[in-house]
Amino acid sequence: MLGKTAGGLYWMFRGLERAENNARLIEAGFRIALTRSTNTETEWKSVIVTSAAQQGFTAKHSEFNSTNVIDYLLRDTDNPSSVLSVVKQARDNARLVRTALTTEVWSAVNETWMLITELLKNPVPDTDLPEVLSIIRQQSALVRGALHGTMLRNDIYDFCRLGTFIERMDSTARIIDVKYYTLLPSPSLVGSRMDNVQWETLLRSVSAHRSYRWAVEEDYTATNIANFLVLDRRMPRSLAFCAGQIVENLDYLAEEYCDRRPSHDMADRLAARLKGRDIHSIIEEGLHDVLGTIISDVAALGAQIEKDYRFNY
């Protein structure tokens, strides 16, 4: 496979994952803004920070209100991570790697791009927002379904999956990091209504508010939620799950190519950091610091994969 093709597949799926994550972040933020009459500014700001868009946003807007934030994350083409930008980028990458995709996957991406470009042509009024966000997530699911159902399990598939999980791991780590203070045990806040709303938002940003109840069967507590999102391998957006998937897909590549590269060791180390750990010890070590290290390690791993498989040179 061409290095360029591997890169195109990887970035195509990073883009699709990012579109979906953005839609979820907006949904969680929108919900909290609806249920609260005052002080939504902090909430919207944390949404922007989580999507790593603070610099670009403040260059254009002075106020973190719902209109500005939603438009910036959904439609603004000056924002390279807006849904519109990443879907366009994913589709451009799909055209670039057209020969590596099945007709089903290609049509799903192309259709997603046509549909979302049309949906986001004008600012989205609040009344339409839930539907638009749901369509974005559905389209992402459509592409993923086509990938699972029609693609050969070979190196092409592995690069798609690597893009997905590198992006997802980065996103989950940022989401926890921005809200990590709400997860810190603080006797004065425990059990307050404030906690519950914050925690639910956090779970909603990773589509886990229901699965949490099923999987954990306990009330919201800081350590339970932290454990669920960081270490629980049943949870498909947890850090441990993402790390496991990255290692698995890299291992398939090593097997197919009969060759291990530096990225393999990096991924193993990243996964080992989370394996067999206890959430209490992580909180003791300092959740914010641990997450900060993970975010930079994931970025470094992504860069190493690009190098090992000659995406660019």
Binding site: L2, G3, K4, D92, R98, T99, W106, N110, Y309, R310
Partner: protein, 474 residues
């Protein structure tokens, strides 16, 4: 529909439906037009979803456009096709022989059949190719001869397109679309298949591999990238052949061979089907600003370590002044008379012809000798007085830059409109593959149709559409 116009209708004869269309007409007359309209819309949605689009040059961030597809097929009998394909076969062999000759001994110039000025003053003539014979002695591997019809059995070659003909993906997708929309038609009417083209293309390219190639030749398609107007076709052909689609920056020279960067290191390529122009092929030899090509590829080529299809410098044969000599060229190399006729052509470089052209400008089509895609030409009967005067001035300033042809009475084939069938002018571009194994011509080709009533311009860049082209089985 009437057949009163002076143009030859391929479907409606003088009194009744022409033979090749009898079965189709019987089927069509039983169809519900509302259903057909729906089908036409479905086809358009299918083309969009599949991304069968082209980009328009010169429009920043232009939207991708569809080439409109018309659901009425253009139908040829096997006898008509037999004559056409014999003629094309003869013509592409002659073009290859001509290219070999002008880059080597130049017998045809010495014999005075073609004037030397036409070669000397030709930008497409590449001195780098002099004295070099490409692997398999093939210059133009893929040819898309443009043919028009003016009456029963009256076929003329309009252009040879020896350089980089495009449109073959539409030939294949149009058939695929017809098969999906109207499967019942194909069980009633036996149509010669076109779907072997990608397999034949790969085989034909592989058969031209350089002698340095060991084992099964590695073929790749070289594209300028996703912003090129024909990118869809490039990716389609690579996909259908099962070969890599590469850009210049994927390639480099490794141990004197061209190699592509893969996830597992560099892999040697033996045959490049390039869809970029000569000028951009090698910044070290041609346009130094080109980022699309591969620095040094011409050296590798001349060392016999890569096959480039079509060969650099084949554009000479597309020159419209050379075209006017094509019947002589065919006779010179094959010893036979040309089976397919040329359209009568006035070379404005010749004083008598120039005078005639200027006197009759309103009745003629005037073309730039190096032009293509329908740009830079004058359609006399459709031009205003002012346009005629402006063009006359251009002609006088640079006569040798132009040739003129009578306005042809192009045949028509009906298209489907909401008001029923309506005649429109068509041309035909069959695709021929050339290798040491021989010439392979896919039955049919791409039929382009001028969608505007009365229009003679079929180019997709100027509002033309396409049709599926059927060659009936015997």
């Amino acid at each position: 529909m009437t057949s009163q116009s002076q143009h030859f209708s391929e479907m409606m004869g003088q009194d009744n439906v022409r033979t090749p269309y009898v079965d189709y007409n019987a089927w069509f007359s039983r169809q519900d037009t509302a259903r057909l309209s729906r089908k036409a819309q479905e086809a358009e949605a299918f083309f969009r979803r599949t991304g069968i689009t082209f980009n328009v040059y010169g429009q920043a961030d232009a939207e991708e456009r569809l080439i409109p597809f018309d659901l009425v097929p253009r139908i040829l009998t096997s006898a008509e096709w037999a004559k056409l394909s014999r003629g094309i076969d003869q013509r592409v062999r002659a073009v290859n022989a001509f290219l070999h000759d002008i880059y080597n001994r130049q017998e045809i110039l010495r014999a005075g059949v073609v004037p030397i000025e036409l070669i000397q003053n030709n930008d497409a003539f590449l001195p780098q190719m002099i004295g070099f014979t490409p692997p398999g002695d093939v210059y133009t591997h893929i040819v898309g001869t443009d043919i028009v019809c003016t009456g029963e059995g009256e076929f003329f070659v309009l252009e040879d397109n020896a350089r980089t003909p495009s449109g073959v993906s539409y030939m294949l997708e149009n058939r695929e679309t017809m098969l999906q929309m109207f499967p019942e038609l194909f069980s009633k009417i036996k149509v010669q298949p076109v779907s072997d083209y990608p397999k034949n293309l790969r085989r034909s390219l592989a058969a031209c591999a350089p002698s340095s190639c060991e084992g099964r030749p590695t073929v790749a398609v070289l594209t300028p990238g996703i912003h090129n107007s024909a990118y869809y076709e490039h990716s389609f052909l690579a996909d259908q052949m099962g070969v890599e689609l590469v850009e210049g920056h994927d390639l480099r020279i490794v141990d004197g061979r061209i190699a592509m960067r893969t996830t597992q290191g560099h892999k040697v390529i033996d045959v490049i089907y390039r869809r970029i122009d000569d000028d951009f092929l090698d910044p070290l030899t041609f346009n130094p600003d080109s980022l699309l090509g591969v620095p040094g590829i011409m050296d590798v080529y001349r060392a016999g370590n890569i096959t480039i299809a079509n060969a650099p410098g084949t554009g000479v044969a597309d020159d419209k002044a050379i075209y006017s000599y094509m019947p002589d060229i065919v006779e010179f190399y094959t010893g036979e008379r040309a089976i397919l006729k040329n359209v009568e052509t006035y070379r404005c470089s010749e004083a008598d012809s120039l005078k005639y052209v200027l006197d009759n400008l309103a009745d003629l089509v005037v073309k730039e000798v190096h032009g293509s895609g329908g740009y830079g030409m004058l359609v006399g009967p459709a031009a205003s007085k002012q346009e005629l005067a402006d063009f006359a001035a251009k002609l006088k300033a640079r006569p040798s830059n132009y040739i003129a042809q009578p306005t042809l009475s192009l045949s028509t084939v009906p298209i489907f409109t909401d008001a029923g069938l309506a005649p429109r002018h068509v041309d035909l571009r069959p695709f021929a593959l050339v290798s040491p194994e021989g010439v392979n011509i896919t039955p049919g080709g791409l039929t382009r149709v001028a969608l505007k009533e009365g229009s003679l311009v079929v180019n997709s860049s100027q509002g033309g559409g396409t049709k599926d082209t059927w060659v009936l089985e015997d």
